[in-house]
Symmetry: C2
Subunit: 568 residues, 2 copies
C-alpha cells in the first residue's frame, strides 16, 4: 500500500480525552477516530488489524467445530419480551421504533435471536449438539463509555451459542471452546488468564472470563504465582488453615470502649491487633437476618454468602433494621447474647482467634478474651471472606497475587435459562420433550484490538506483533525526490509484495523526521530505510521492537526478512 | 464440514410469502431465515456465499486503489442535519435516541460520516485523491420490504467514497471503479448491464447503475441488441429519424368527435392510425405551463422535459389548471389556437406527421389534416419521448430492446453536494480553499447474493457457480450405517479437504431420497455419491448444473475433480 493512497492521520499531541495508552496511541497513530461518545470509525490501519484478529477467531472457532452464521442487529421486541430481558436489561439496551411504530432492540447480544432460530429449526436430539457463531456489530448504550475501544457503545463481538441434549455434551463443547479461546488470545500475543467467574443468577456452575492483565483493568483477579489458577476475587475459595495461638483462654470480660466503633478504633484503643478482633456484620439474606463474623483484618465476600444460602439477594441490614432486631447500633454487634432468633455464621478464621475482641450488642462496650468454642452458641463455620494476597492458591500450588484485568472473552454454561423461557425444546431418544441445554461464548473483537495495543507499545508508539500488524514491512525512502532512492524503494516495494509480504510504502513528500516518527508511532515490525547508500544498493533494516539496526545489501534483504518474520 | 454439525434446515414446501425464485430457494435450501419483515439471518450456507462475494468485492476494490475502513452504524443526527438530509430523507432513515435523549440515525448510507471524517483529516491537495470503502450493514426502513434479500430493511452493502482536487481525478477513479464493478459482477457470473442512469438533482453528469437482467427487476432497461449500450428508459435519447409520408397536404378541417377523448377513441372513430394522431398534454414545469406534443403512439418522458427546461418539478397540469388556462378539458387540448401565452414543445416525430389529427381546444371537436409546419406557430421540436423497443440504439449500433433489471451496483459522480454543505474543503496548489469533488459507489452485497440465486437455479433448486458455491463438493454416502460406504466417504472427505477443496459431507442418518433432494436444493456444483460399489472403490460423480453422471474409481476422482473445478 502506498502511503499517499491511504488515510493514516497521525497526531503529534496526545488527545485530551484519551486517558489510557491504547486509546491515545490508536488515535495518534491514525488507527481510528471517534464519531461520537463510545462510537468509532476504524481507519484503514485499524480495519486491517481487526481483520487479522477476526481471521484468528474464525480459524480457532471453526477448528473447535463451531459454524459461522450472521444474525441481524435489528431485533424485534417480542423476542426480548419472551425472554423477559425487554423489561430487565435497562437503558443499555438501545431501543427504537420502526415506521409502523413496532418496537425493536439493537442487538446487545443474541441469545434471544439464536434461541428462536434454533427452536424453530431443530426438533430432535439427532440434530444436537449445534454450535453457531458470528462476528457482528453490537450496541450497548454504556452510561460512561471510556478508554476508547475498551468500553464503547458500538463494538465488534464474536458471539457463539451452543445447544445440547445433555450436560456432558455441553461440558465437551465448553472445554473445546475454552481451548479455542486460549489459543486465540495466545496467538494475539496477550498476557492473559482464564479466570473463574461468577455465574450469577444463571445457575450454571462453570463460567470463565478471559482477562488480559493490565493496570487499567476494571476487575481484580486473584492468581497463583506458580500455577495457572486464576479467579475473580469474589470467586476464589479460601483454603487457608489457621493455627490457634498456644495460649490459655482468659476469662470473658465486658469492657467499656466509649465511641470506639470500627475495628481500627477498637484494636488501637484496646491495644490488640486487628487479627485478634472479630468483625460482626448483620446481613439481610433474602428475607432472613444473619449475623456474619469474620476476622478483623478480613472482608466478607457476599457472593459466598449468597451461594451458601442459595439466596437471591444479600444486603447489609440498615441501621433501622439492626436497631429493631438487636437493639443496638451497627458498630456494637457481636455474637454473644445476640438472641436465638438470629442465625450466626462465621468464617473459619474466627475459630482460631484466641482471647479475641467482639462487640457486646451494647453501645460503647466490647467483650475481650472471646473464644468462639467456649463463648458462642449456634455458630456455623464456613468460607466467607475474600481471598487476599499471600493466601495459598486454592489449587494447592503457590501463593495468591492480585492483578487487574480487562475482560476480552467469556465462556458460560447458560443451562436452560433461555430455552425454558422461549420453549426451545427437542425430543430426546425416548420421545420426551426436553429444554435444550445451552452455552454462550463471547469475544470482544474490537476490545481485543485495544488490549493488544495496550500491551504492545513503548514511548515512541505502538509495537505490533508480526501476526497482527497492519503491515509487516514499512519501506521509507529518506528523500522520495531523490531518483535513486525512490527507484530502489519502489523496486523493493514491488518485489517484497510479490514475495507475499504486506508492505506499506511511505511515498509521501515529507521530511525524514516526520516519516520516521510516524513509522515508530504506527509500529510496523520491520522498517526498511532507503537512504544515502541507495546507489550502492545498501539499505537499513530496523526492528521496531528491539531497535536493532542492520545495514544490508538489497540482495541480502529477502533472506533476512524471511528469517525475522518466520521467527516470530 | 460434516452436515450433522451445521444448520441447513431445508424445506420441501415453497414458503407462502416468498414470491420470487431466489427468495423461495434461499429459504427452502436453508441459506437464510426471516427474523422480521425485511430482516434476515444468514444461516451457515448463506454466510459462506456472502463471504465469497465479499472476498471478490475486496479484491477488485483493492485492485482499483480503494482502501478499506469501517464506519459505525450509529450516526449522530448533527451530521445529517449539516447535509440537510435529516429533514429530507423521510421515514426510510431509521432514527432513535440514546439514553441521553440525543438523536441518532442508523446508517442508511455514509456520505455524511465519511465527509466529516475526511473534512477533519485532509486539508491539502497533496493528500488527494483518496478512495475509501467499507463492507457494512445498512438500515433502511422500506415501506414494503419484498423479494427477500432484494429489498430488505437491514442489508449488507459495500459503499465507497472518493475525494478529489479536480474533475479529471474524479473521472479517472470513476472509470477505474466502473471497471472494478464490471469485474465483480462478471466474476459473480451475473448477466448484467452497466446502465446509464438519472443523476437526479445531484448535478453530476455521469452515473451508472449495474443492473442484473431479470424479469422480477423493478426498473426497465433499454439496451442495444448488438452493442454494450444500456440505459434506464428515462435516460435513453431517441435518435430515430422520421420520414414524412409522400402525400399532399389536405385542407385543415375541424370535425365533430362527440365523446371521443383518448387517442384510441379518436383514432378508431376517425379511422386513422395512432401514428397519425398528435397527443397534446399540458404540463406545469416549475411555475410555467407548457403544452407538450408527442405522436399518438409515443409517451412523454418527463425526465427529458425536466432536463430541457432545467426544471425542479415537472407535473401534469390538473383539470382545473387546464380549464383555467385553455378554457377546455384535458382530452381536447391541441396546439392550434392555443394562444400566445402557452409555450409549445413537440417531439421530433410530430414534425413528420402528415395530415394528422389533434385536439381543437374545444370539447367534442378535433382538427384533421393537421401539418405542423403549415398549421403550428411557436413550436420547438425536441427529443421528448420515451425510447421504445425497435428504436435505433443511441450509440448507432443495433436496435433497442427492453429488459427488467435488479440494481446491484451504482457509481455516481457526486460533485460537491456534500463537501459544500459540510465544508469539506482543501487548499489547492495555489493556496486557495476549494470544496472537494466527490464520487460515491455502492454495491448491494446481500442483494447480489439474491441476484445470483435468481439467475442460477433450476426446477430442483439452486445451481451455484463454483466460485460462489458454499462448498465445491458434496459427499453423500447412500447408507451411512454401511461400514464400507461410511468409511470410503470419510476417507474421501478427509483427502479432498486436505487437497484444499471445500467439502460438505452428508453424514446424517437420512433416507437416500432425502439426501439427494437436499443436495439438489442446496446446489453444490459437484456431488460424490458413495453407494453399493464402495467395496470396489467405485463412486458416482454428478455435476449439478448439467446432470452429467460419471462412475469413477476413487483413485481417478482427484484428477477429474481438479479438471472440473479449474475448468469453471
Amino acid at each position: 500500500m502506498k502511503q499517499s493512497m491511504t488515510l493514516i492521520p497521525t497526531l503529534r499531541e496526545v488527545p485530551a480525552d484519551a486517558e489510557v495508552k491504547s486509546h491515545q496511541l490508536l488515535l495518534r497513530a491514525g488507527f481510528m477516530r471517534q464519531n461520537s461518545s463510545g462510537i468509532y470509525s476504524y481507519l484503514p490501519l485499524g480495519r486491517q488489524v481487526l481483520q487479522k484478529i477476526e481471521a484468528i477467531v474464525r480459524e480457532e472457532m471453526d477448528g473447535a467445530g463451531a459454524v459461522e452464521l450472521l444474525m441481524p442487529a435489528l431485533q424485534q421486541a417480542e423476542l426480548w419480551q419472551e425472554s423477559g430481558r425487554w423489561y430487565t436489561y435497562g437503558p443499555e439496551l438501545m431501543r427504537m421504533k420502526d415506521r409502523h411504530q413496532r418496537d425493536f432492540a439493537l442487538g446487545a447480544t443474541h441469545e434471544e435471536v439464536i434461541t428462536s432460530l434454533v427452536r424453530d429449526e431443530v426438533k430432535s436430539y439427532k440434530r444436537l449438539p449445534l454450535t453457531l457463531y458470528q462476528i457482528q456489530t453490537k450496541f450497548r448504550d454504556e452510561k460512561r463509555p471510556r478508554f476508547g475501544l475498551l468500553r464503547g457503545r458500538e463494538f465488534i463481538m464474536k458471539d457463539a451459542y451452543s445447544f445440547h441434549a445433555n450436560q456432558e455434551s455441553l461440558d465437551e463443547v465448553y472445554n473445546k471452546l475454552f481451548t479455542a479461546y486460549s489459543n486465540i488470545f495466545r496467538r494475539c500475543g496477550l498476557n492473559f488468564r482464564a479466570v473463574i467467574a461468577d455465574s450469577g443468577a444463571m445457575g450454571g456452575k462453570d463460567t470463565h472470563e478471559f482477562m488480559v492483565l493490565s493496570d487499567i483493568g476494571e476487575d481484580t483477579i486473584a492468581y497463583s504465582d506458580t500455577s495457572d489458577y486464576a479467579a475473580n476475587i469474589e470467586m476464589a475459595p479460601v483454603t487457608a488453615t489457621y493455627q490457634k495461638a498456644d495460649e490459655p483462654y482468659r476469662e470473658l470480660e465486658k469492657v467499656h470502649t466509649e465511641n470506639q466503633k470500627s475495628i481500627e478504633e477498637v484494636s488501637s484503643y484496646l491495644k490488640v491487633s486487628p487479627e485478634s478482633c472479630i468483625k460482626s456484620l448483620l446481613f439481610r439474606i433474602d428475607e432472613k437476618l444473619v449475623l456474619v463474623l469474620v476476622r478483623g483484618d478480613h472482608e466478607v465476600n457476599d457472593i459466598k454468602l449468597k451461594n451458601l444460602f442459595n439466596a437471591g439477594t444479600v444486603d447489609l441490614a440498615t441501621p433501622e433494621e439492626t436497631k429493631a432486631a438487636m437493639n443496638c447500633a451497627v458498630g456494637s454487634l457481636g455474637p454473644i447474647g445476640s438472641g436465638d432468633n438470629i442465625e450466626i455464621v462465621a468464617d473459619h478464621a474466627v475459630r482460631a482467634v484466641v482471647n479475641g475482641v467482639c462487640g457486646a450488642n451494647q453501645e460503647d462496650f466490647h467483650f475481650v478474651n472471646v473464644n468462639s468454642d467456649r463463648d458462642f452458641s449456634h455458630v456455623k463455620f464456613e468460607d466467607l471472606r475474600f481471598i487476599q494476597e499471600g493466601d495459598p492458591s486454592p489449587d494447592g500450588e503457590g501463593t495468591i497475587k492480585f492483578a487487574m484485568g480487562i475482560e476480552v472473552g467469556h465462556v458460560f454454561k447458560l443451562g436452560t435459562r433461555y430455552s425454558e423461557a422461549m420453549q426451545a425444546t427437542f425430543l430426546d431418544e425416548n420421545g420426551r420433550t426436553q429444554p435444550m441445554i445451552m452455552g454462550c461464548y463471547g469475544i470482544g473483537v474490537s476490545r481485543t484490538l485495544a488490549a493488544v495495543a495496550e500491551q504492545f507499545n513503548d514511548e515512541k508508539g505502538l509495537v505490533w506483533p508480526a501476526n497482527l500488524a497492519p503491515f509487516q514491512l514499512h519501506i521509507i525512502p529518506v528523500n522520495i525526490k531523490d531518483e535513486i532512492q525512490s527507484s530502489l524503494a519502489s523496486e523493493l516495494y514491488s518485489s517484497l509484495k510479490v514475495s507475499g509480504y504486506e508492505v506499506l510504502f511511505d511515498d509521501r513528500q515529507e521530511r525524514p523526521g516526520v516519516k520516521f516518527a510516524d513509522s515508530d508511532l504506527i509500529g510496523i515490525p520491520v522498517r526498511i530505510t532507503v537512504g544515502k547508500r541507495a546507489a550502492e544498493g545498501i539499505v537499513e533494516m530496523k526492528i521496531r521492537k528491539t531497535g536493532e539496526v542492520l545495514e544490508l545489501h538489497k540482495d541480502e534483504l529477502p533472506a533476512v526478512i524471511e528469517k525475522f518474520i518466520s521467527n516470530r
